[in-house]
């Protein structure tokens, strides 16, 4: 005796297929329900298989898959970044990594990570002075400006960025090694990242505000948390060139400071005495005064 042949109708689920394949004696009240109970388990399995395949693709991934995709693709999700925006960036991982090691990669990573609309930033390299084969001299500062969406490279000549040329300290390799003032080419490995952060942070947590050292998660000089500072520095370390040293991450709270458009010698740019926190002023009296503007805070850079 052969097995009865049943031609199933058009079905889309295992539960329906079970009923369609069942002989008449299994299509009574209990048979139909029993078959449904068994079949729907396979419907669940089928959907799970489908999700298991789709979830590896960023645009189909649930948010709890982002942890693994971030590790796989080495793209960190910004603290304020939407799921869709992050998923799109995850799809661009190969293009993003192709730019690793340059100013554009750092600024793009910080912009994506901080997720502040209209955030402007700058990346400035150590000023340099060179002579081309034709005898022409080039004294310039190499700036990259992030306007919120795109990066522009600007060469300012004569150079307008002078962090610490008056405070050479051979014992401290973070400081200026070769004087730009004597015409020799300075080291070009130092860079600075400037974030105009007043749309995100405020200058709080200063001396005398009632906070105490050791307050959990806080930082000195702004309301940025220690985790935020660590994250910003992590982005810099990940995307910079191995050779460069990011000297400081400067968070500027006054948009008129550090503008690449300012001319050399402008009081709102470093004046060569910024290598240390203080400098000696001779007028009106000789005294130690702050070397850097108090309109910004300075987070350690990274090697």
């Amino acid at each position: 005796m052969g097995i009865p042949v049943t031609t199933p109708g058009a079905v889309t689920t295992f539960a329906d297929l079970w009923q369609a394949l069942s002989p008449p004696w299994l299509q009574g009240y209990f048979g139909v329900r029993f078959g449904y109970t068994l079949g729907i388990m396979y419907d669940g399995l089928e959907e799970s298989f489908a999700y298991a395949l789709r979830y590896r693709f960023p645009l189909y991934a649930p948010t709890d898959a982002f942890t693994w995709l971030a590790a796989d693709r080495q793209i960190d999700r910004g603290e304020n970044e939407s799921a869709h925006s992050y998923a799109v960036r995850l799809t661009q991982w190969l293009d993003l990594w192709r730019g690793a090691g340059g100013a554009g990669a750092i600024l793009l990573a910080e912009s994506s990570y901080l997720g502040i609309a209209g955030l402007t930033m700058e990346h400035v390299k150590e000023s340099r002075n060179s002579t081309d084969p034709g005898g022409g001299t080039h004294d310039l500062t190499d700036w990259d400006y992030w306007d919120g969406t795109t990066k522009t490279n600007i060469h300012v000549s004569p150079h307008n960025w002078d962090w610490d040329s008056d405070q050479k300290d051979p014992a401290d390799q973070r400081f200026y090694q070769v004087s730009i003032l004597d015409g020799s080419a300075p080291g070009h490995w130092r860079t600075w990242v400037i974030i105009y952060g007043n749309t995100k942070w405020a200058q709080t947590q200063t001396f005398g505000d009632g906070s105490t050292f050791g307050d959990g998660g806080k930082t000195f000089g702004s309301n940025a948390t220690a985790a935020e500072v660590a994250s910003v520095r992590k982005q810099v370390a990940k995307w910079k060139s191995a050779e460069s040293i990011v000297q400081w991450v400067i968070v500027a709270f006054d948009d008129t400071w550090f503008q690449y458009t300012l001319p050399a010698g402008d009081p709102k740019l470093p004046d060569g005495h910024w290598g240390r926190w203080g400098k000696i002023a001779t007028s009106p009296v000789t005294a130690m005064v702050p070397a850097r503007t108090s309109t910004a805070i300075y987070w350690d850079g990274t090697t």
């Binding site: 298991a52 979830y55 649930p62 080495q74 192709r98 191995a242």
Partner: protein
């Protein structure tokens, strides 16, 4: 079915969970589930179905995990052993990076002094040899690991000794042999002895974790701008046959397994080490060729150097059950081998426990305690160990790699 989270998919459903779901479903459509007793046909059919579904659920879990390199790298089977197949698939297909195979432990008999020596202790009589390559088998009598001569052996006269180059017959850390552990010939010859004054180190096939790290580092090499990750990737991937630049500048004698990239003003310092410690100068030169030609952008400078070796001397007293039947020599050899294997996993610059840049003292104690000469059984486990040297965490400089030094053992049977 509402869209599940990934966390729901990567854990397989159990038979009991599926059975419970079946009973809930059946009750919801009006079936008298409370009347079904165990072993009734209804319960039996549901249980059978639940078993099938639960098995498929495991496939779903593996499929979900296997979609991500970082998750695939953590996959283990029901016994806790790493599953490597998924990571291999992703490594090759998503990153074009191949898992590095196991390496053969070897010793060089041509160094001064030779790393491995064979002595003819007969006062007079026949020479030992000559032998062609592969004709003599030496043994680590504790672990049973065997080695053959990798170059011809000239005749060794009575009362003399000679360096002999050897290589393990089986790849992997199972052939790793600590100092003086390769101590016999497979076929003993009267008054012929052998000894190794340098540890022979073999490495297992690359672990999932290390393989994942190389895959992630590969991303840095996509940029022509000298990203940090590129240095580590190229240095550790010279034996990766998938890379289009494989063997472009020759192959080192041993794979580089550890890299430390350090940025100084204007210069990138790349410190490298292999499983045994600092590579020989020829290997450093080869790695330098790859780094300079494949990673360093024009106008930048990278200096590739061997990591500096720091030898850790050990003085311990291990307490071993007499009932285990182990000999002192077996215990000492097993501990020497275990310490060698452990130190090859410590990165350049050390690990971070309570303080950064150390070889943790507690890890050394644990390594000794777990160094069993034979099969672990309740009666053979070491009772305790007193590790007096080192007596604390061993500091490791950012450019240093730790290797085993002199071992002063005491084995106390209790």
């Amino acid at each position: 079915m509402a869209a599940p989270n990934l966390a729901d998919l990567i854990v397989a459903a159990t038979v009991d969970e599926v059975l419970a779901a079946e009973l809930t479903t059946a009750a919801s459509v009006g079936m008298p589930t409370s009347a079904w007793q165990p072993l009734t046909p209804e319960r039996t059919i549901l249980y059978t179905n639940a078993t099938v579904v639960a098995n498929y659920s495991q496939s779903v879990a593996l499929l979900a995990q296997g979609g991500y390199a970082s998750l695939a790298a953590t996959m283990v089977d029901s016994n806790g052993n790493p599953i490597t197949e998924w990571m291999d698939l992703i490594g090759v297909n998503n990153y074009a990076v191949t898992r590095l195979p196991a390496t053969f432990a070897s010793l060089d008999g041509t160094t001064s002094p030779p790393q491995f020596t064979v002595s003819n202790n007969n006062a007079a009589g026949p020479n030992f040899g000559p032998f062609g390559t592969g004709q003599v088998i030496f043994v680590n009598s504790t672990t049973g690991a065997t080695f053959v001569n990798s170059a011809p052996i000239s005749a060794i006269g009575p009362g003399t000794s000679a360096g002999v180059s050897i290589v393990a017959q089986v790849a992997g850390s199972g052939s790793t042999s600590g100092l003086h552990a390769i101590d016999a010939l497979a076929t003993p010859v009267t008054n012929i002895a052998c000894d190794n004054i340098v540890a022979a180190v073999g490495s297992d096939a690359e672990s999932n974790a290390n393989y994942l790290t190389r895959c992630q580092a590969k991303l840095g090499s996509l940029s022509p701008k000298g990203a940090s990750k590129a240095y580590a990737f190229v240095a550790t991937s010279i034996f990766d046959t998938t890379q289009p630049w494989y063997d472009l500048y020759g192959l080192p004698t041993e794979p580089i397994t550890r890299v430390q990239v350090y940025t100084a003003p204007g210069v990138v310092y790349v410190y490298i080490a292999n499983a045994a410690g600092a590579p020989i100068s020829g290997d450093v030169s080869i790695v330098n060729d790859y780094i300079q030609n494949l990673v360093v952008p024009d106008g930048q400078t990278a200096i590739v150097q061997a990591a500096s070796q720091i030898s850790i001397n050990f003085t311990y007293n291990v307490f071993v059950p007499t009932a285990s039947g182990f000999t002192s020599g077996q215990v000492e050899s097993a501990i020497s081998t275990a310490l060698t294997n452990y130190l090859q996993t410590v990165p350049i610059g050390g690990l971070t426990d309570a303080s950064p840049g150390v070889v943790p003292w507690s890890a050394l104690v644990a390594t000794i305690m777990e160094a069993q000469p034979g099969t672990v059984s309740p009666g053979s486990k070491f009772v305790a160990v007193t590790l007096s040297s080192p007596a604390a965490d061993v500091p490791v400089g950012f450019n240093e790699v730790a290797v085993p030094g002199t071992i002063t053992p005491t084995v106390t049977f209790v």
